[in-house]
């Protein structure tokens, strides 16, 4: 038989089965859709990043610091100016914005930009021509949301610190800003020339300093820019640059915790412009906690070596750095989402397998005739493999089309979270890859059931009594072993290729295999149970329905697998969501007061206290913050410790700047892990009177103590703004960083720091409404540098973000449900023929429609209950693993809602069972006998 003949025959023979086969193959569509959508979108985003990377940075290169630039930068700036290199400074900080004359206030992110910024891209404003005047007058451009919050309009006056601005327009797209930043804190853009007159940047103020350069055209290439960056680094800090170059030469520039504290200062910090640092929300957790977030500032703060390096670390970033960091972040996200796509794809594979199983049992007669007419088993296989491949292609194409549609919709959902304008276009590679993977998976999963067709005997054509479904199978069938190997190999290969990391890939594979294994065992147990427990005393319908579970060629395993997997996914997604959101809610409700003040200077604390007292408002908490660095541990200097390669220490812990506090008691968000809390004040004072040189008691956060390699009894000398403070570690604490409170790595006994220069964070309780806005306004007027935050607003803001995240998670949940449905259809359809024949027989023997329906319902109810329950139990394990190991939050099994999900799945199974078998009820016995015969 020629290929053309084969294709022609395959096409003709598939005539009536095409729709059914396409339905089975559509199981694969959701998986392909997910992969195509995720990959294409990731491709779009990385391409957009590449195209807009100069605009993202605002120039070809940026020098960045978390404190005011050291003098060397001014020298460099001078020499660059001589060389006619355009440059602009950008200073970003949080400040209270006061609207006049309304008197309303709001914490905002202020960006003071120099002339010429941005060198690439443009700051969009309404009116469009407004930006051109920004350096000429005292004008400000603000987010539209700020106008609403302050109840003002364009043209009104806005006060930042001591400077008044006219609101000249609203901000649109600004290169490098993600839309979501405005939710956290509205943006205000002003000219940098007003920085001194605002008078906001004082001691300890948290601000980001940036100098953006535009390189001459000849030096804009990646390699030239890298060279310029290296030279700049050498000039700024020769020692650090030499160390980093040495590390780069060794190829371990990303090592973070190696002996001696190797760390790549420039490259480890991802400055995703999500406003993490300037965010109002995180500002309260202030002090040290934000260093634990993904966008750790440990690198920039890691100046520790007070003996040799300048106090401020300056990072030099090129366009390529920005591009690399962003692309990496996007690809990691895509990897994570890919897991959902993968599961969808594999679930689809299971759907295809059970659907093709049903298809095979309907084709046995035809195959027997073909065999009588001289078809070889190879020809038969070829005929149906061609059909399966063609339908797989149809399913995968449908999936790819859906994926492209989703790709075009995604920017509407994610646009605000991304710092770039994503240009959506068709990405041929992900499209082809998705198609190829889809066809391959559907083919590999279809092959196994199709192999059964080789064993169809031509005798079947003359022997009508043989059970067509119970085809003999052999364990040592070479072809089957080959197909099994191909199947397992394909699954592992696809998982590994999607999840680049081998360990994570293998863990994911193992997880999937474990879930499939548990479901398989559960189904096998059900089959055994059905065989043993049926009692003659049961009603006929129930007995018959349960017997269907263990009869030859039953689909118990396939249905349980499809259903269980669907229930597992849905329930896991729900549980993870519920647990994470639970944590966030606990976080926001933790704080006692509703008004938070930070950046309160030492001399501002008493007048602030009296201000509150005078109005009868309660100050709930007043937390002092003292900045410091480590000088020595157990008598060895930091330099010495860093050179010591025999002890493993995280380098950043030695170099970073610590924002610590002092107090007598342990707070509600902390628990003692080792040692004992500070002795009562009276005892300590007595002891100090006896021995004035004794070290002060210190408490460290457990993980930090481990990273530093210290335990209770060790001594640490701190450099508190030039003054050495000797301490002995009295205890370690575990800290719940998620709580909406000021949390600290290091807590000192009060005597140690009481006289050190310090700042305060206040939390006060002020009745909402006029009282609150009046207090805020008065504070801004009297203490312009102090930022105040209405926690109710923060809770709303977090609520908003949570809502967006919830929406995304719900989408994933719905998606997993949607992809489960065609699989379930396929699995149930696999038994349709047998059920039809049996139902018709029962009806011929006098069974009423109702009785036949009850038999089917009994069977599907048992299958649905098993699948849903097993999936639900598995989801407790899965969700526990994800919340505990990935998100590090406690797990709470929400039994009620998961039970509802399980019940829903059960009903869905019964509904699908009823839908696929409704022919039995609809037709007369005679007609059905003709059809099914």
């Amino acid at each position: 038989m020629t290929t053309a003949t084969l294709l022609r025959l395959a096409w003709r023979e598939s005539r009536t089965a095409r729709r059914r086969l396409a339905l089975y193959m559509s199981s694969i569509a959701f998986g392909v859709a997910a992969l195509v959508a995720i990959d294409s979108f990731a491709g779009n985003v990385t391409r957009s990043i590449r195209n807009q990377s100069r605009a993202l940075l605002g120039g070809d290169m940026a020098l960045q610091a978390r404190n005011a630039f050291p003098a060397v930068i001014d020298t460099i700036a001078d020499s660059l100016r001589m060389a006619n290199v355009p440059m602009a400074r950008v200073t970003t900080f949080a400040s209270m914005a006061l609207a006049e004359p309304a008197g309303t206030t709001r914490l905002a992110q202020v960006r003071a930009v120099g002339r010429g910024y941005p060198f690439y891209g443009a700051v969009e404003t309404v009116p469009a021509d407004g930006w051109a005047r920004v350096h000429d007058d005292s004008i400000a451009f603000v987010d539209a949301s700020l106008l609403v919050a302050l109840d003002t309009r364009v043209g009104d006056t806005l006060r930042l610190g001591k400077q008044r601005f006219t609101i000249a327009g609203t901000l649109g797209n600004v290169p490098g800003d993600a839309g979501i930043t405005a939710v956290i804190g509205p943006r205000i853009y002003v000219s940098e020339r007003w920085l001194p007159s605002m008078g906001l940047l004082q001691f300890g103020s948290r601000a980001e300093y940036e100098m953006v350069l535009q390189l001459p055209a000849s030096q804009q290439s990646t390699s030239s820019a890298a060279l310029v960056a290296r030279n700049l680094r050498r000039r700024i800090d020769p020692v650090a640059a030499a160390l980093q170059e040495a590390r780069e030469a060794r190829g371990d520039d990303n090592e973070r915790a190696g002996p001696g504290g190797g760390e790549a200062e420039e490259d480890t910090t991802v400055t995703l412009p999500l406003g993490v640092d300037s965010s109002a929300a995180l500002a309260t957790a202030d002090s040290s906690s934000d260093t634990r977030s993904a966008t750790t500032d440990s690198a920039s703060a890691a100046t520790g070596l007070s003996t040799r390096t300048p106090a401020t670390r300056v990072r030099v970033r090129t366009v390529a750095d920005t591009e690399e960091d962003l692309t990496e972040a996007v690809l990691r996200l895509a990897d994570f989402l890919s897991v959902i796509g993968l599961i969808a794809l594999l679930l689809g594979g299971i759907g295809v397998a059970s659907g093709v199983n049903a298809f095979v049992s309907s084709k046995i007669d035809t195959v027997a005739v073909l065999r009588c007419l001289g078809a070889t088993s190879r020809q038969v296989m070829a005929l149906y493999v061609v059909q399966a491949a063609a339908m797989g292609l149809v399913g995968a194409t449908a999936g790819a089309a859906l994926g492209v549609a989703v790709q075009f919709l995604l920017p509407k959902v994610t646009g605000e979270f991304l710092p770039v304008d994503v240009a959506i276009q068709l990405e041929p590679l992900p499209l082809l890859l998705g198609l190829g993977t889809g066809v391959w998976v559907s083919l590999v999963f279809a092959l196994r059931p199709l192999l059964a067709l080789r064993r169809v005997s031509p005798l079947q054509a003359i022997r009508r009594n043989a059970d067509p479904a119970a085809l003999p199978s052999e364990w040592r069938d070479g072809a089957r072993l080959l197909v099994d190997g191909l199947l397992v190999g394909s699954v592992v290969a696809i998982v590994l290729s999607r999840i680049g990391n081998v360990r994570e890939g293998l863990a994911t594979t193992a997880g999937i295999v474990a879930v499939v294994g548990v479901l398989w065992v559960a189904a096998t147990l059900l089959i055994a149970l059905a065989r043993r427990t049926t009692r003659p005393s049961w009603p006929f319908e129930l007995r018959q329905g349960i017997a269907n579970l263990h009869r030859p060629a039953n689909q118990t395993r396939a249905v349980t697998l499809a259903l269980g997997f669907g229930a597992f996914l849905l329930s896991t997604v729900y549980l993870v969501q519920a647990n994470l959101l639970g944590t966030v809610q606990a976080t926001t409700s933790g704080a006692a007061g509703n008004l938070l003040l930070f950046d309160v200077q030492d001399d501002q604390a008493p007048p602030l206290d009296s201000l509150f007292r005078a109005r009868g408002h309660e100050v709930v908490q007043r937390t002092p913050i003292v900045t410091m660095r480590i000088d020595a541990i157990n008598g060895r200097s930091v330099t010495e410790l860093q050179a010591d390669t025999t002890v493993r220490r995280a380098g950043w812990t030695l170099r970073r700047e610590y924002r610590s506090t002092y107090r007598d008691s342990i707070s509600a968000s902390e628990t003692l892990a080792s040692g004992e809390w500070f002795a009562p004040a009276a005892d300590r004072n007595a002891a100090r009177a006896a021995n004035p040189d004794a070290p002060f008691a210190l408490s460290l956060e457990t993980e930090l103590a481990q990273d530093l390699g210290v335990s209770v009894g060790d001594t640490i000398v701190w450099n508190v703004q030039g003054v050495p403070v000797r301490t002995v570690l009295a205890n370690t604490r575990t800290v719940n960083w998620g709580r909406f409170e000021a949390n600290f790595f290091a807590v000192f006994e009060p005597a140690a720091l009481r006289r050190a220069p310090q700042q305060f964070v206040f939390i006060a309780n002020v009745p909402a409404g006029d009282a609150l806005s009046t207090v805020q306004r008065d504070i801004v007027r009297r203490f312009p540098n102090v930022s105040s935050l209405d926690l109710t607003l923060v809770r709303q803001t977090i609520g908003n973000i949570v809502d967006r995240v919830t929406l995304a998670i719900r989408f994933l949940g719905l998606f997993s449900l949607a992809m489960g449905v065609p699989v379930l259809f396929s699995a149930v359809a696999a038994t349709r023929r047998a059920r039809l024949r049996e139902g018709v027989l029962l009806r011929t023997l006098g069974a009423s429609r109702r009785q036949v329906a009850r038999v089917l319902l009994a069977e599907y109810a048992a299958l649905g209950a098993l699948g849903a329950l097993t999936g639900m139990l598995l989801s407790f394990g899965g969700a526990w693993g994800i919340t505990t190991f990935l998100f590090d939050t406690p797990f709470d099994a929400a039994l009620g809602p998961t039970a509802i999900i399980a019940a829903g799945m059960l009903l869905l199974t019964m509904l699908i069972g009823w839908l696929t078998s409704r022919d039995v009820y609809r037709e007369t016995p005679m007609m059905a006998i003709r059809d099914a015969g």
């Binding site: 003709r12 023979e13 005539r15 065999r371 001289g374 078809a375």
Partner: protein
């Protein structure tokens, strides 16, 4: 043409051995029209399956047109069937998804005989020959039982088989329609010199063949030549 020697078929059912055919031997010369009769369970269908190479005997051998079927594996037997054997079944066994014409073309396509156009011409000719020239594009379910069986006959003859096996070809048809099928079988037998072996319950149909082999409990109890003068004793 067809030589059966000591054909035995046993089935194992648990610990019990069931002998369905017991040392059956006979010869069918080329061009003969032979019927195999016997009550239900006498082994007729089993014998037909063995003779056509659809199944393998527990003992004994079948030689079809000089080829010992025991020496061939299933795929080689399929190939042989494609080249030399035609089938007609009680339930017609047309492929429901193919039209009458396509059904008749299948054996040609499987064996790769001739071009597509030649196959179509040949199939159309045969369908015209069995009186269905105007219904070649109909699907099996659009045809009556008799029409379906005529399509099956055309399909059986399309490859010019040396031998045709028919399993109760009139079993699902009413008297008149069955009669027409038998006439067609006889005509095709005469026209093409094709050997025909048919299994039937129907004594009237058996009487119209040249020779009747009667089976009971797996052994030949009678072997009658209706038109010839001599008669074999059961082997």
């Amino acid at each position: 043409m067809l030589v059966a020697r000591g054909l035995t078929k046993e089935y194992k059912s648990g610990t019990q051995h069931l002998t369905v055919l017991d040392h059956v031997s006979f010869d069918v010369p080329a061009g003969a029209f032979v019927s195999i009769v016997g009550p239900s369970g006498s082994g007729k269908t089993t014998l037909l399956g063995l003779l056509a190479g659809l199944d393998t005997p527990s003992q004994g051998s079948v030689s079809l047109d000089g080829v010992d079927l025991n020496t061939l594996d299933e795929d080689a037997r399929a190939k042989l069937r494609g080249e030399k054997v035609g089938f007609v079944f009680q339930s017609f066994q047309l492929i429901p998804t193919l039209t009458a014409l396509e059904n008749v073309q299948v054996p040609l396509e499987l064996s790769g005989t001739g071009t597509v156009r030649e196959a179509a011409t040949r199939a159309t000719d045969l369908l015209t020959r069995v009186g269905l020239g105007d219904r070649i594009h109909h699907f099996p379910q659009q045809l009556s039982g008799g029409e379906q069986q005529r399509v099956a006959l055309a399909r059986a003859f399309v490859n010019d088989p040396r031998i045709l096996f028919a399993d109760e070809p009139t079993g699902n048809l009413d008297g008149t329609t069955g009669e027409r099928i038998v006439e067609l079988l006889q005509e095709l037998n005469r026209e093409r010199g094709c050997t025909i072996v048919l299994v039937t319950h129907d004594p009237a149909l058996a009487a119209r063949t040249q020779r009747t082999i009667r089976l009971r409990d797996g052994v030949i109890v009678e072997d009658v030549f209706h038109t010839a003068t001599h008669q074999h004793a059961p082997a």
